[in-house]
């Protein structure tokens, strides 16, 4: 059995106890999307402020377990100030690390592993151990899926 230290890395506990970019923005002008995990009741709302092609600012509120909350916090740090192209690349890397990828209709499908360096992932690598706890993968991906939702809502 994988140990707890695989799951609850120090960075994760830090982001759980001191979440970054927590809060709301008036929407509009911010783009807002709500995500929830119907299996466990975790909920979060992502607020994005875009400047052209760049995520100028991001706030997140919600409730959930340490993995979903810390993943949201880590994501907010990772995407803030990035272009949408860079964010898309990060999303693909993150999902690849979680051993899942999604097709056009959002259904999981077997993924071609993506080549990436640990440097690209930065602190997100702390969530690597989640893969060893399959039921928690949904916790870690909730914020990313909600971010995708926000960007899609904007596009439509």
């Amino acid at each position: 059995m994988p140990g707890l230290e695989d799951l609850y890395r120090e960075i994760i506990l830090d982001h759980y106890k001191n979440p970054r970019n927590e809060g709301t923005f008036p929407a509009p002008p911010a783009i807002k999307a709500e995500g929830h995990n119907p299996l466990c009741g975790d909920e979060l709302t992502v607020y994005l402020i875009l400047d052209g092609d760049v995520i100028k600012d991001i706030h997140i509120t919600g409730q959930g377990c340490s993995i979903s909350r810390s993943s949201a916090s880590l994501m907010s740090v990772a995407v803030k100030g990035k272009t949408l192209t860079e964010v898309d690349r990060l999303l693909k890397i993150f999902k690849s690390m979680m051993s899942i990828s999604t097709n056009a209709s959002g259904e999981p499908e077997a993924s071609e592993p993506i080549e990436y360096s640990e440097r690209e992932l930065g602190e997100l690598i702390a969530l690597q151990g989640v893969v060893k706890f399959p039921v928690r993968i949904k916790c870690a991906t909730l914020s990313w899926n909600t971010l995708v939702q926000a960007l899609e809502d904007r596009a439509s």
Partner: protein, 419 residues
């Protein structure tokens, strides 16, 4: 009235011996298994597994059809299980009134579907409670959406009891009262006999959701005063895939059939059909034969122990758990539901510090302690409690104080870990 309040007279359970009958406890490769999630699904004794295995190995054939000997024997076993299970809940006419379904959820869906098809009119009132499992909630919400029934709710008070001060008002003009007999989150045991009496005075049909009650209590449908009782096999030592709906003969006769197909008819023409007699009228297609036989064996096992003994064992464990959890963690643990142990079933839902239930159950798992974390398929109740999720420990006959001690130790580790 309910027999659960009768004084202690039953033989105490011998848990050491009982555990030897459950293969799962000796198949853990030396790892500890503190199984505290029987409210989600119980473990199975060897006798249940053997009953199903023997049936498949020696007797399997379809029921109610063949004229050859193993088919006749299969039918005898299947119908024998029905009678045994019906008697277990005190059914006055077990052979006719005990209907096999897939689970309690299907039993309740059968009722909501057949009642709206055959008895209820648009605007008719169905009374539920705020603490229902989704299984006794969503079928009625579907009926509301599709047939236009009206739903009223009995509220839950701050101590976890049903708020019955306005019960007459709620039942006024109601056609159905459908209530859990034991809350899967709070443990609350509503005063069913009294509620049924009141509902009947108002002319309503009374449905009990016994999913969390029948596995743990002396159950007598006449004492409970219900017209229908839904429960499931897998929470009472039986296999998955088998549930029961008991109903009063005259009401079952009056209802239209549920699903159509083989076995539920006496005649079919190209223009119409004649439904079968009870109980087969409600059992379309090949039923879960082995599962029914397995549930029959589970009922034998429980009856051999005595349901009064089962209940008293559970009360002892609940008392010990309340004491131990609160003496170890004081205000850091909040246990939901009634404080009086006699008023609750064998579930303990709790908040522990501000640690999310998922994280609690993950850390507990490292110590081999299995608890449920989540909304327990009772989202409206969770909203009422103002929380998203709880952790829940629940008991059955194979649990012992050592399981509670393991829970306390593991919670101590969670406390240390999350500081």
């Amino acid at each position: 009235m309910e027999r659960m309040n009768t004084p202690t007279t039953a033989t105490p359970l011998n848990v050491t011996e009982i555990r030897k009958n459950f293969p799962i406890f000796s198949h853990q490769n030396g790892k500890a298994l503190y199984f505290l999630d029987s409210a989600a699904s119980s473990q199975k004794p060897l006798s249940v597994l053997q009953a199903m295995d023997n049936y498949y190995s020696t007797t399997h054939a379809n029921v109610h059809r063949g004229v050859y000997h193993i088919a006749e024997h299969a039918t005898e076993l299947y119908e024998g299980a029905r009678v045994k299970i019906g008697r277990f809940i005190g059914a006055p006419n077990p052979a006719r009134e005990t209907i096999f379904t897939k689970n309690a959820t299907e039993s309740l869906n059968l009722l909501s579907t057949c009642l709206t098809r055959g008895m209820l009119k648009k605007g008719d009132v169905v009374v539920l409670t705020e603490m229902e499992h989704h299984a006794n909630l969503v079928p009625w919400l579907i009926a509301k959406e599709q047939f236009g029934i009206e739903i009223r709710y009995i509220k839950v008070d701050s101590e976890g009891y049903l708020a019955l001060d306005n019960i007459d008002e709620l039942l006024s003009g109601a056609k159905v009262l459908s209530v859990t007999l034991a809350s899967n989150v709070l443990g609350t045991l509503p005063p069913m006999a009294r509620l049924a009496e009141l509902a009947h005075e108002h002319g309503a049909i009374v449905i009990g959701d016994g999913a969390q009650y029948v596995p743990h209590m002396v159950t007598d449908v006449t004492d409970l005063g219900v017209d229908f009782l839904a429960f499931t096999g897998h929470k009472m030592l039986g296999p998955t895939g088998i549930g029961v709906l008991w109903g009063k003969s005259e009401l079952l006769e009056a209802l239209p059939p549920f699903m159509g197909g083989g076995d539920m008819i006496t005649d079919v023409t190209l223009d119409g059909f004649t439904p079968n007699e009870l109980p087969w009228k409600f059992e379309a297609g090949t039923p879960p034969i082995a599962e029914a036989i397995g549930l029959g064996a589970a009922v034998d096992y429980l009856q051999n122990l005595g349901m009064q003994s089962v209940r008293e064992h559970e009360i002892k464990l609940l008392s010990y758990a309340f004491e131990t959890l609160e003496s170890n963690f004081g205000k850091n643990i909040v246990i939901h539901g009634p404080r009086n142990i006699q008023d609750r079933g064998g579930v303990i839902s709790f908040d522990f510090r501000d640690i999310h239930p998922h994280d609690i159950s993950q850390i507990l798992d490292q110590s081999g302690v299995c608890v449920r974390a989540g909304h327990h398929c009772a989202k409206p109740l969770m909203r009422h409690l103002g929380i998203a999720a709880t952790a829940r420990a629940s008991f059955h006959i194979y649990n012992e104080p050592a399981d509670v001690d393991a829970l306390v130790d593991a919670l101590g580790k969670a406390q240390a870990f999350f500081g």
